[in-house]
Amino acid sequence: MSQHVTERLAVDIGGTFVDAITFDRETRSVSVEKASTTPAEPESGVLESIDKIGTTLEDTEAFVHGTTLGLNAVLEREGATTGIITNEGFADVYEIGRTNVERDSMYDIRYQKPESLVARRRRVGVPGRLNADGEEVEPLDEEAVSEAASTLVEERGVDGIAICFLHSYRNPVHEQQAAEIVREAYPDVSVSISSAITREYREYERTSTAVMDAYIKPIFESYIENLDSALSEQGFDAPFFVTRSGGGTLTAESATDAPVHTILSGPAGGLIGASHVGRETGRENLITVDMGGTSLDACVIEDGTPAVKYDSRLEHQPLMIPVYDIRTIGAGGGSIAWLDGELLKVGPQSAGADPGPVAYGQGGTEPTVTDAAVALGYIDPADFLGGEMELDADGARDAIDEVLAEPLDSSVTDVSRGVFDVALANTVGAIREITIEKGLDPREFSMMAFGGAGPMFVPLLAREMGVDEVVVPEAPSVFSAMGMLMADVVYDFARTNIAALSDLELSDLESTFEDLDDEAIDTLTDEGFDEEGIDLEHTLEMRYLGQEHTVEVDANGIESTADVSDRFERKHEDRYGHAMDDPPEVVHQRVRAIGRNDKPPLERADPVDASPNPVDTRDAYCFAVDDRTTFDVYDRSDLRPGAAVDGPAVVREPTTTIVFHSDQTATVDEYGQLIIDGGEVDE
């Protein structure tokens, strides 16, 4: 690479916009642009955003891309025709699943299963079996594998095959053998083997994960190829990374090998950004609230790390990959407020971008949270999206009046406040759940607000929950793309190895960790990281003998099995409220490998001693005095480090509005972040 190649580029495809952002390591400057999303040919929106930002691709040292392509393929059922090869006698595991229905359907006597991605005719069992120790009980019938592949490809027309055998998490030999046979016979058919994606037990979940991977692989591959060649034509010749569902990024090449790892990466950028910014500014414990048009995503960051789970679902189907543990609720700006008899409800239906809130004047008739915000005076109708769109405030008020206030015999202001109260109650409930289920107290966290509607809503949420401060980062509406620039390269490696701790020596655990470390280091050095730039994090998943659930135990620097046992008991106590006398058992060993990237610094400025002047005033509803009052209006660009503003106030930014109330104060910290504190609802 030549000397001047110092620019990092990130492009995030969202539902409405493609956000491009660049960071120049030499000049330390950041720039941002938006283009429209182009669902039919996603790469053109990406290329347009890059074009708009005016970056020279020859000068780019790394490109980080966030895409929801895989997700959309599943949501719209546009993936590959997929088949399954598995053990004889178990071809129905994928259909039988775990036999339960989700909570929302628990009383539904007419319940229907969601449509399967793999019809029964495309699932074939072949002889061959391993036992729970991974030992071969019956050799793989290679002939049967050939026949299965031929049936699936020739007769059933599949483009992708998922291979999953019982106990392959222990011993992948049969899966690898079968994959080789299939690849040799049908090199054009993409093959996903379960043990290459996850080495954890539970055959249905592992099969489903492999199926999801096979299902999106052909589309993903051709998209990445098209994009890569279009970029190359413009001189791009640098590492190409794709964001990962469970944090960090992986190379485009690895992503095409196992695209399932990208499938839930949509909200990942914001969380990477939040954890990085949090670490840099001394806030290791954060609740992030990303509120956009259709929904609100909340996640807990503890000790600088966003919560990750290993058992997520997509379209009712399990995914056994690490995914950020995000609680999504229908409380976005576009969420519809409605009456159920005389109860006032908000969401989960959303007016989306089209027709959008009534105030958008695009034909929406159902009042939304955004309309309530307009009626309460938080959004300046003449200055929405930096003046790009004029809002129909009267229309919003009329709709609220007609649909909600009149039937309830209430006023537009009172019922709009009610819409906020209900949206708040929904959100408070969800956040209490994601904290309390981990044994955490939400009041010990700071909140970070981003997304278009977050900065308007989260200060109220913090008041409601007794959270001390809300952090509004710079450029909150493109925070997700910003976060991608901060992403490290991350790979997870795991082994399921179920054994009583008492049967293990420390060296047993260490040797598995060493194997995993070697695998991790090999992978990252192949991608150009030197060992100094690599961090390895060890964890154990453990439980008491007889339990099903495991807890994750930090296993960095373990000194003895007694040490492991202590760590496990402490963790169990924290999480479940008690320790037990039963013997502890190790279930999984995990290594997370992190290749560290150079990140944009948070620019630091010395505080100035000047109080900013409001540019305007607005009449708006203050939750601290339960009435309309006069809010000062500021431009965010006028708020320099050190500035302090007492509520009630509105701070304008081109793509978002920050609102806080008369019992709250905002200060600007040395990094330009707005910190809102004060204001607790009386108990």
Partner: protein
Amino acid sequence: MSNATDEIDAATVEVVRNYLTSAATEMQRTLIRTAYNTIIYEILDFGISLYDRDRNLIADSPGLALFLGANDYALEKVVEHVGEENMNPGDVILMNYPYWSSTHTLDVGVFAPIFREGPEVPREENELIGYAATRAHWLDLGAKDEGYVLDSTDVHQEGMIFPGTKVHKGGEPDEEILDLIRFNSRIPDKVLGDLNAQIAAIRTGKERLQELHGKYGGDTVERCIERIQDHGERTARDAVRDLPDGTWSAVDYADGTTGDGIRIEVEVTIDGEEFHVDFSGSSDQVDEPLNIPRGMTETVCKLCFKSLTTPEETSNAGQYAPLSLHAPEGNLFNASYPAPTFTIWTGIVSVDVVFKALAKAMPERIPASSGGDLNDVMLFGEDPDTGRQFVEANNDAVGWGATDEHDGANAIMHITETMVQNIPVEVFENKAPISFDELSLRQDSGGAGEQRGGLGLRRDFRIEHPVGALSIIQKTREPGWGIDGGEPGDKNGIVLDLHDDADERVDVLVDNTDLYDDDELWVGMFRGTFHEGELISNRTGGGGGYGDPYDRDPEAVREDVIDGYVSREAAREEYGVAITADGDIDREETDRLRSESGS
């Protein structure tokens, strides 16, 4: 908002409703988080509820669908027995007397009155604002057998009884009561751990209700609750009014523990906004642990009623206002002392009988019968690798009934416990000395119909080391039913493949070989010790079909044959559709077959 004076605004009502619902959810998370036994935190064998001071249900969060409202009847009995005037802040009360608690002795109810202030404020200066209740399955409490009691003839063989006994008084644990529990259980540590988990869950509910009262004031909370109840009642009444009026009845038979059959008859009457269920025609109570206490009969009715009226809403008492039931004292569904009540499987079967009656009234709303059972196989013994005692139970799914609009779902857990998962093959093989030969859908097990019933499944347990095993299953002899010309699905059954010397080891309680003309040993309930190489093949029932099978679109039959849900033979015999070896429809032959039937 907090100082609202006259009319309560709609938003406050919704905020309070949401608060109560999430309080119940938090209680559930606390219980799962702190429970010691897998039956609670994996199988979700618990019920959780919050009440106002008049004992109206204001929120719940059941683990088993069948436990919705299961604490309602029990709370009434607790208050009756202890006396409201004797309840003090900080009290926690145990109750598991089956005729009051609704289920069996091992489902222990833990109840607490909630006062506005804690136990430091004496009752006279305090104010009762509600109750919190949990019930959860304990592993062992003074019953004659470990695990499940399958042959009790009176309740005193089934365990130790607390009739409404304070285990905490004024916030302090009563060590004497705890000792009683400790000395009456084979697994005291886990049992006491689970008791503490239930108390922790109750504390969560208590604190949340106190916070709510503190925040809005008792008056506002009460008026909101009133509005929530009114809304629930209005929604349910509107839904019942939409249903046809009339009286319909249905009969079915549970196996019993001998296979002789226990009559379950249900009569449902809908009259305007009222919904009444009568169990008078059912058998008298029996000398087998299959009797249903009155409280459980209420939950059977609530589950059926809810699925028709407010399936998507969390429960409150108002929603059940239109519902009433009758079961005479001493009836199978109103067991009286000392009738044994250890398994609730007749209650499971009765849910389908209620739907069977309703299907006569409103076939467009009700599916044909499901496989209709929980198909439980339990393994216990010593793990040869670790030397530890283990108990592993798995409930298997059944085919669901077809509806007027679609085929029944394949292999879904019975409606009474829809949230319960099966145990994965890989997990099971790691936990017990068995391996599975097969886990598959049973071809042709779904009842034929214009809409086809869902398929049941087959799970083959191969024993690898001597192990104890039993089954709890109650619907292996009577078939299910179709609707409007649809056929019933295959019955539930278990096939045992045993060595010649097995007679002394394996006690077949319900022998079904008379029902099948193959050479296999078909059984229902059994209990015994199994040896290496023997096989337990659990085969679950299919759902019933809907409409005449000859009206099924031949293309749909062809698709079913390609997918193997239906065999070519069955396509021909039951649907009158001829499918060639290449998977095409033989139109001519199909026309001939379908016209021959004369339908």
